[in-house]
């Protein structure tokens, strides 16, 4: 039978004063039954707007002005709000990116799934109840009658996304739109959700419109791919053609920026001295007080790692594994409960703040969110000279050093006098790197330093990290949840799970033959093994 969804020359207008006239311009694509179509593009490419337009959920100020959208042959452009409501949830359904906030916190999971049945059907209470239990089973959530009574905050991220899917597919819609459903999930959970969507598509013949920016995911599940840039479709076709033989230069650039999962070959480090090492580092959070049972959370359990000069050590793990806590303990932003942290042999784990100053000079940190790492009310110069001036350098000297470092990170010297809001995310992260280099540290900590950047920008920043490690023979501690990034930049990697180190060793060996079962599961779950290029060396 014909396509489920046909979008023909769709144009959506942005309100006056936005950065471009049209959110989406002259976009056409279609979804056949049982087919997964991936719409891929960087942030601001208009991929989400198109999906929201199909569902008719655009905010008031954003209006579709041309083109047609046909769902199972029925024209939706200009359809009445009443008609749209009848279709939403019954013939077309949608799942969203943030499972944490996409479910109503004050209603049980059962109620939220049952709701769509209540709105669209005349089923009796008992029939609805049975249908809910059946749907929960289909998305393989463990013991359904406990889940039905549970509230969203009592479920894990993955379980919540499954509940979302159950709600969407309760009425067996022809079209399922998934707006970056796995971006916020850990790698292992992401793999299960992708698998679930693929199975449901196969079993029910639902057409899936999958929105994502992660080419790994595209390689994993897509039948056909639509690549979008600044509101226009630059290329579309079968997954294999687009991924392996991209015709449009933008697609080539995008794919070229995806780091490969097979580790790059690194220059061997012949006996460089150990700069930073931790011995049985431990961090425990305890809460509770009068009348309340004491709850203890062991964020970091007995971690011992060491980093040699000029070496990049990566800590890899899912959220909650304790990798950031280790980084913050090393930077002494939080006080470790036990264990030693030594730089050039001098332990500073327990030093009081006063005598910590000169240790701080020797290690610096780059944070994840570029938009919050620079004080909005101070110029780039003022932010950069803060550290060296604290450590006794004269302002004039600090300023000239700042200028040199900006050249190093390929930014114009006059940016010194500008304010942070005048720079893009990628540029700001470069400024943060330059700032970190100002006091000539021996150790640089990068805490998820590239996860907030678009793929294309990510590649350049990773190259920059490698260059400065080489140039200043820094010891680089790199924290990331993205295996591809770890593969490309780390000499050795440390895998952490629930606060403990399960495995560590040279990147090549660990990627080639992981010994610990958790590491194996982690690597197996990483989507799109075939895709990706070597970034460094």
């Amino acid at each position: 039978m014909g396509d489920i969804l046909v979008v023909d020359r769709l144009t959506v207008e942005l309100p006056p004063g936005s950065d471009r006239p049209y959110a989406v311009e002259d976009v056409s694509f279609s979804v056949a039954p049982g087919e997964i179509v991936c719409v891929v593009g960087e942030s601001g490419s208009g991929k989400s707007v198109s999906s929201f337009t199909v569902m008719g959920l655009l905010p008031r100020e954003v209006k579709p002005i041309a083109g047609s959208i046909r769902l199972e042959g029925e024209e939706l452009m200009g359809a009445s709000e009443k008609r749209y409501r009848e279709l939403r949830g019954s013939r077309m359904a949608m799942i969203f990116q943030e499972p944490m906030t996409a479910l109503n916190p004050v209603k049980t999971i059962g109620e939220q799934i049952e709701e769509v049945l209540k709105v669209h059907t005349q089923m009796s209470q008992a029939e609805r109840r049975a249908r809910v239990m059946e749907t929960i089973g289909q998305v393989n959530l463990p013991d359904p009658d406990q889940i039905v009574r549970a509230f969203p905050h009592q479920l894990s991220g993955g379980q919540r996304q499954r509940a979302m899917i159950a709600g969407a597919l309760a009425l067996d819609p022809a079209l399922l739109i998934a707006d970056e459903p796995t971006t916020a999930l850990d790698v292992t959970t992401q793999a299960q959700i992708l698998q679930l969507i693929a199975d449901l598509r196969a079993r029910r013949g639902t057409g899936v419109l999958f929105i994502t920016h992660d080419f790994g995911v595209v390689a994993e599940i897509a039948h056909r791919v639509v690549v979008m840039q600044k509101g226009k479709v630059v290329e579309q076709g079968l997954a294999d053609d687009v991924l392996n033989r991209p015709k449009h230069p933008y697609t080539q650039m995008l794919i070229g920026a995806v780091p490969s999962l097979t580790p790059a070959d690194r220059k061997p480090l012949d006996g460089a001295p150990v700069v930073l090492n931790t011995r049985n580092l431990r961090k425990v959070y305890s809460s509770g007080g009068l009348f309340q049972k004491k709850r203890v959370v062991e964020a970091v359990k007995d971690v011992s790692i060491d980093i040699r000069r000029g070496e990049t050590v990566g800590i890899v793990g899912e959220s909650g594994s304790g990798k950031s806590t280790v980084a913050r303990c090393v930077a002494r932003l939080i006080d470790p409960t036990a264990g030693e942290i030594a730089i050039d042999g001098a332990d500073y784990a327990k030093l009081p703040e006063r005598s910590l100053r000169d240790h701080r000079k020797r290690m610096q940190i780059v944070f994840q969110d570029p938009y919050r790492s620079l004080n909005p009310r101070r110029t780039v110069a003022q932010s950069m000279i803060e550290a060296p001036v604290n450590f006794g350098m004269s302002e004039a000297e600090a300023l000239s050093r700042a200028g040199d470092l900006l050249d190093l990170v390929h930014l114009p010297r006059q940016s010194l006098d500008r304010f942070p809001h005048q720079f893009s995310g990628g540029q700001r992260q470069r400024i943060c790197i330059a700032r970190a280099l100002m006091p000539q540290p021996e150790v640089l900590i990068a805490d998820e330093a590239v996860s907030a950047l678009d793929v294309s920008v990510q590649a350049q920043v990773l190259k920059l990290f490698d260059e400065i490690r080489e140039k200043f023979s820094l010891a680089l501690l790199f924290i990331t949840h993205d295996l591809r990034v770890a593969a490309q930049i780390c000499d050795r990697i440390v895998v952490m799970q629930k606060g403990a180190v399960v495995e560590q060793g040279p990147t090549k060996e660990v990627f080639a033959a992981p010994t610990h079962p958790y590491t194996q599961a982690l690597f197996a779950a990483a989507p799109g093994k075939t895709i990706g290029v070597k970034i460094t060396a």
């Binding site: 944070f367 803060e386 006098d417 006091p439």
Partner: protein, 304 residues
């Protein structure tokens, strides 16, 4: 400030073209009206007014527009039209309302400044110095539990009546609210990466507070200050109404209304004109506060 930093600031100031915010009507209109009020307060002596305390029992409770005569300092008499009528002692309402502008605006401003400065200091300490937090906040809860008007009444009437007593009495109950706001902001800012970066840069805590935390408290504080100023002018009129406000010889909108309260059915002008002034001024300050809040710090809406 090094020479170079100075040039930077001058250049930054030069670039300060009228911010887009100022073009919004919700800011222009109230700002203009308040500007007029301030001008009236400053220029009161030259706006056809006479000594607000000059009384003439023979011309008591005259309706607006009454043409009478006044005794000049050298004792001679001169004709004078009382545009807004006279009060129960024959004093010119027009002059008293204009001079009253001074007192009411000063009270609004002083209370706002006093409450904000103290609130900021205590809030910063509570937000940044962990061990002091519990103690300070318990004290603030205690102060906040006492209904503000009662606290003000007790403070004013038990101390020597006067503008300073009234300012303290209105400001003290406002401090806990400012402290809670500042503490909440400081707690969230200290988690910001740029503050943590400053910690790793070895910046000592006091410098860190002034260089990074304070500037980012400014926007919400200014908004809170406008609301404090608005409520201060209102509370002053309520204190005068209850007979514990500013003594009558210092004209303020509040005590002119309180004096006229008895005659609101036969000589309504006593209450009408100061009442209008209070309503207009407080309205403008509130509208300005709302507009500033939406412009400066949309997420603040939750906290107020």
């Amino acid at each position: 400030m090094s020479e170079r930093a100075q040039t930077q600031t001058f250049r930054a100031l030069a670039k300060l073209r009228v911010p887009a915010a100022a073009k919004e009507p919700a800011i222009i209109i109230p700002a203009v009206i308040l500007g007029i009020m301030v001008l009236i307060a400053i220029l009161a002596p030259w706006l056809g007014t006479i000594d607000p305390t000059l009384l003439d029992p023979t011309q008591r409770n005259k309706l607006p527009g009454f043409v009478g005569q006044i005794v000049l300092p050298d004792g001679s008499k001169a004709p004078f039209t009382f545009h807004l009528g006279t009060d129960a002692l024959g004093r010119d309402i027009y002059s008293r309302v204009l001079y009253g502008t001074r007192v009411s605006l000063i009270i609004g401003a002083l209370v706002a400044i006093f409450a904000t400065v103290f609130g900021l200091a205590i809030g910063m300490v509570a937000g940044y110095v962990r061990w002091s937090d519990g103690l300070i906040m318990r004290f603030m809860d205690g102060l906040m539990a006492i209904p503000p008007i009662l606290l003000a009444i007790a403070l004013v009437s038990l101390s020597r009546a006067g503008v300073t007593a009234v300012v303290f009495a209105i400001a003290i109950p406002e401090i806990p609210r400012v402290v809670r706001l500042v503490r909440a902001i400081v707690l969230s800012i200290r988690e910001e990466p740029y503050v943590e970066a400053a910690v790793t840069a070895g910046t000592p805590t006091p410098v860190l507070l002034f260089r990074h935390v304070l500037p980012n408290c400014m926007a919400p504080l200014i908004v809170q200050a406008t609301f404090v100023a608005a409520s201060a002018i209102l509370v002053e009129s309520i204190l005068s109404f209850l007979g514990v406000g500013i003594p009558p010889e210092v004209p303020s909108w509040g005590n002119i209304m309180a004096a006229g309260r008895q005659y609101f059915r036969i000589f309504p002008h006593n209450m009408l004109y100061p009442g209008i002034c209070i309503a207009v001024t407080v309205l403008c300050v509130n509208v300005l506060g709302d507009a500033l809040r939406d412009r400066l710090d949309p997420k603040l809406r939750k906290r107020v």
